[in-house]
Symmetry: D2
Subunit: 396 residues, 4 copies
């Protein structure tokens, strides 16, 4: 290991904690061509960011994100803030020649995402790398799903069935946290969790969504103002209330460019479903099914074996032969949510060291944004809506 990759992270809440765990761990598990150094963390409150630096293991801290972006002592900027600030920080970082890891969704608008993808394409010509943090791609079972599809094991894909179900705002007294405010979060369940299943299904199928018919709904339209929040939990603030300005749920049908038809559903009102990111693919030769709440398992159906022996095989994705797993524990010793981030930064470090583009690129993430945009336009129009193409220029 000959080089350090000096990381500056902006934001230190839920995503910041997850990324920190990844940066702290990655070199202790994987043999990599560079060593991540947790140089500086940035946040708005001086006191809180100082505490976070100690707690999360960062060498320094600051309240000035521009100083991070411009520092000669930083190689990579890791953006873990809400979506309303992604574009400004990412554009500045790329302009300053820093590699960028940006949390998803890429931006709160297509316009911003286009600008970011264009900047990333331009930066790439200078050897600067940009990646969007669709971490679920790095769950080993999902990576295995992709391998099996790519190997033709399920044949022509006919059906995609994807849901991302949570329930943390079912209680109407749950407060109006930033994720429920359009000006900060961009959208609700759609951009927060719907974006994940759009990215994941396109990744595993190798197909792109071309058109959608959508419905969005906000079941609880007014909520108490929040006093404090952490992760996805929060407490309220007495009598003052505010309007929920994002969707509680987004449902859509879709057609993909390889001929598959699909249903998607993202909701925060699926009582009892905590983080049920579920994807099923049905192909002419077999099927695959994944549920994040059992993230170490993949179900595989092979329609080419004798009829009496066909069935869904529950693969415990913990073998050394499985993606990412040789570095971890013996078979049957499970990994967790945070490992997806460790795998993400592992792949990012390897790509940077190899002078290659990491995936998903900003162009990939723009395309997801275009799907989300089509969903919102379709929901408004009440009819099928085509997904705008990512321009050639941006794809670089």
């Amino acid at each position: 290991m000959s080089q350090d990759l000096r990381v500056g992270m902006v934001g230190y809440a839920f995503m910041g904690a997850a990324h920190s765990q990844a940066w702290r761990t990655v070199n202790h598990v994987f043999d990599l061509p560079a060593r991540a150094r947790m140089s500086v963390v940035c946040g708005r409150s001086a006191g809180q960011v100082a505490d976070a630096a100690v707690k999360l293991g960062w060498e320094g801290h600051t309240t000035d994100w521009r100083s991070v972006v411009e520092s000669d002592d930083i190689d990579l900027v890791d953006i873990c803030t809400p979506g309303d600030t992604h574009a400004e920080i990412a554009l500045a970082a790329l302009a300053a020649g820093k590699h960028v890891l940006c949390e998803k969704p890429l931006a709160n608008s297509v316009a911003e995402a286009r600008e970011m993808a264009a900047a990333a394409a331009a930066a790439k010509t200078r050897g600067v790398r940009a990646m969007c943090g669709y971490n679920y791609r790095r769950v080993p079972a999902v990576a295995l799903m992709r391998q099996l599809v790519a190997a033709g094991r399920i044949g022509t894909i006919r059906h995609v069935r994807a849901v991302y179900l949570q329930d943390w705002i079912v209680d109407p007294q749950f407060p109006l946290v930033w994720r429920l405010r359009k000006e900060i979060a961009g959208s609700g369940a759609l951009g927060d969790i719907g974006a994940h299943i759009v990215d994941l299904t396109q990744f595993v199928t190798g197909q792109s969504i071309t058109a959608v018919s959508a419905l969005t709904e906000t079941f609880v339209r007014t909520r108490p103002l929040p006093s404090a929040s952490s992760g996805l939990s929060a407490s309220g603030n007495g009598a003052a209330t505010g309007d929920v300005t994002v969707d509680d749920a987004a449902l859509f049908l879709a057609r993909l460019d390889g001929g598959a038809v699909a249903t998607y559903e993202a909701t925060r009102f699926a009582t009892g479903r905590k983080n049920a990111l579920r994807v099923e693919l049905n192909g002419s030769l077999g099927s695959l099914a994944f549920d994040f709440e059992r993230m170490n398992e993949l179900e595989v159906y092979d329609a080419t074996v004798p009829a009496a022996e066909q069935g869904f095989t529950k693969i415990l994705v913990t073998e050394a032969e499985h993606p990412y797993m040789a570095a971890w524990w013996p078979p049957g010793h499970l990994i967790g949510y945070e490992h997806s981030f460790t795998h993400e930064v592992r792949d990012l470090i390897e790509a940077i060291a190899a002078g290659q583009d990491p995936a998903p690129s900003f162009a990939d993430a723009l395309q997801v944004q275009l799907v989300l945009d089509a969903v919102e336009r379709s929901a408004a129009a009440g009819s099928w809506t085509e997904v705008e193409p990512v321009l050639e220029a941006v794809q670089g």
Copy 2:
């Protein structure tokens, strides 16, 4: 037991066999006010229907369905033919004062279904009963689902998630059986299995679908002509081929009149899913989930218990306290598919004896037909489409 209910059944294939098992069994398991007598079975081929009568346990047989309908020795006509003949037989039977049990979907067109519902409403005034065979309502777990919703146990329903997945025509060499021909079957997966999840979700929620946005797809458009078929299996007939004139899959979003939003999917191309009728409801106080491939189980989530103890409870629906189950075996001794039909005729016999209307009525079944019709119109138009109302007059 003071009276006989003399049954004449038209059709003796898959549904006919299932109904026969029900008629043969019902009085041997349940204590009922009337005894079903399997008087006559009717089919088009004299030789085959004679064999069927012996095999299935009918006293007599005929090739003339009108003789069944008009016979003084028949009290109830059980219609197990494909959808293209339902209307004519049912109308004749009702006109002749026979009770009618008609397989689903009620008819191949809304016009026919309206006429049938009107006839049933008129017959009702003469004490003649009509019921449509949406048998899955009589699965004990589904009946329990309905009880829990009706008791308010899951609160306000926000999400309905329903699929009916089969895979028996994934092979493009599977022949062009009658279920793939619009002139006989009316529609494909939509009417065959989609109809079940429309009826079932409306039944368990107590809500009606008001509007849909749909997509239908036919993945394999030409198939070999069939030589022989039985149930859902068949063999092909050499080189001759014909066009598939129905949908292979139908997907739709829906809004229900109680405020719930929904996704529906019916397909015969879900490789590995054999009879996966799955329904999940998410409400403000809890959730319910059912999968027919584990038909003796119901999953219940109660969000009102302490957070640390919440979870999906897998109820094995085999207790004497569960609907229909006191008549069967001790707890844990499962029942099967055919029992749903036995329960159906049990409820029908009880309704007739009590002089009450059985459910689902023809008006209920017409309403399902109107939903299917809206799905087809929406798929054609590419936009949200409202479900037409069932007229007051028909509801009688």
Copy 3:
């Protein structure tokens, strides 16, 4: 179908109802060389047996089992009484030249079982057939399990893991029904449900238990006397109590003659487990796992496929290619508990018509009895105990 098989059944409670359902159904589902005729049912109470005859579908009824055994109008005697009467009835029936189907366990003592097996061996030379009703062998998933083992698919079997868990007497107020009295039932959980897993595991492995180390326990030693009972449910009778004289639970380790080691557990105190007959086999090339509470499924692990693709395959045992299933419904349309009895009498009718011996024979059932006897002796002695051999003479 050229001949009738005239059946006389003794006993009409839980097992009698299950057998009746089988006799009523078998010829309507399977194409068989003989037709079962439900000639007469026998019970101790004239009024109750008359009612049972009507309810269960028997042509006649009697309170005199000897008249059944000796009647010229009876071809087969079906013994559904408690174990204390099996020997006397079976011996008389065989002596009278009647085929016999005897519920399990074969007898309440090894001595009786030996006498019965000897009588069956003698009767066999006169073309008279005897079979013991270990119905779980006829669950399609279990039959498939046997096929896979016999085909060498799991290699050398190293581990057998079998439990039969129920919970119907956890409540200490549950009354002292006949199944809790040694003089009638012979033993408790051991003979009632433990016998099933002994038979089933020996059947599927093709190996015999040679030695056991056992423990038996009676957790609740005094119970109220019963007023009425049905199946496995019952109600109590006020203040009068009596002693439980059988085991509530029996646990044992075992060695099998093919080199496998095993654990067995039969209990009526496994709260929440209703009829959890579970068997797992681990072999050098794969594993098999079955749970009756999901009786339409078999889990198969194949260790010969690539490591990354290994996993337990959940086969939905409802394909036409699976044992018994071609006669029933399309794939995914489940069957239930009672079907195991229908399959049992189907196989019995075929064996009789073919002049072949049905399995399990009385000698097979005697061998199970010898295992149960070794378990009781081991539990009493506190040490490993060998299973006595079935004598050559008996095996005939």
Copy 4:
């Protein structure tokens, strides 16, 4: 956080890597009264331990464990070596006034374990703490299991059903690694994984095993000598072979001092089961079931709710209300195997800081050793064998 806890770890293979991940992580997730400092790692090969120090994140490294034990710069010695060296290192460390965390099983013999427990009891009087690493106690679902039992939620426990199933040596060509050699490992499956289920079931029930009847088996008695091994994987070394001197599987029945009866099975020949540590408890009021292969779930049956609503509730143990989980991610975001170690060192740090004894103590671990000893004696004798008591003096 006012103090450092300077850790010296001996051994850096599988357990060493897991402990390192825990020490690296614990202060970044939990708010603790002391900060773990990874001071030095010790191994036999200078080159390999130097590499391990870098890879795993230790400040220094050495090949001299005595220097670690005696160093003034070390507060705690973490013993991750095979069992044959535990006693010597632990005794020296305790004598030197160091806190000790010792991997399980505590020792390879009862004599050693007794000496260690006595030393720990003596050290305790000087404020020196000793803990044995039965990490599975710290899986949140297991900790919740304990809470529910302790709260009386399942009433009087009647049945314990515990297995620990692995399959990593099913292949007879898998080499003779140290875990298969009695002089290093002490025993085979029994001490390696059987020890875990002995400890775990005693922990969750609050009962102790008093007597056992056991069977041990070595299916493959000769194996190739190993060339290299890592975790539970290894490669062979050509033609040279050696004798397996430990058990491949250990099965036993047991009685517990609270009246429960139990079955235990530990094996490395359960093909397809990778790390299936499964425990089920049946009590008079309910049941609990856990499977490590789904370690984020606990199944709870409550027999006190209405019969129609009883069932096994699958709790996803990821809520802030669950043991350890408030420090991690939002609900539904799973944790993995390694987290059990992070929780273990978290509890150890808290106990040390609070001047309290951590659990399991060396006396607790001695008691497990006495159970393992009884198992081996019972297997040799072929009869029930009592577990020797832990002496009062040791329990101190």
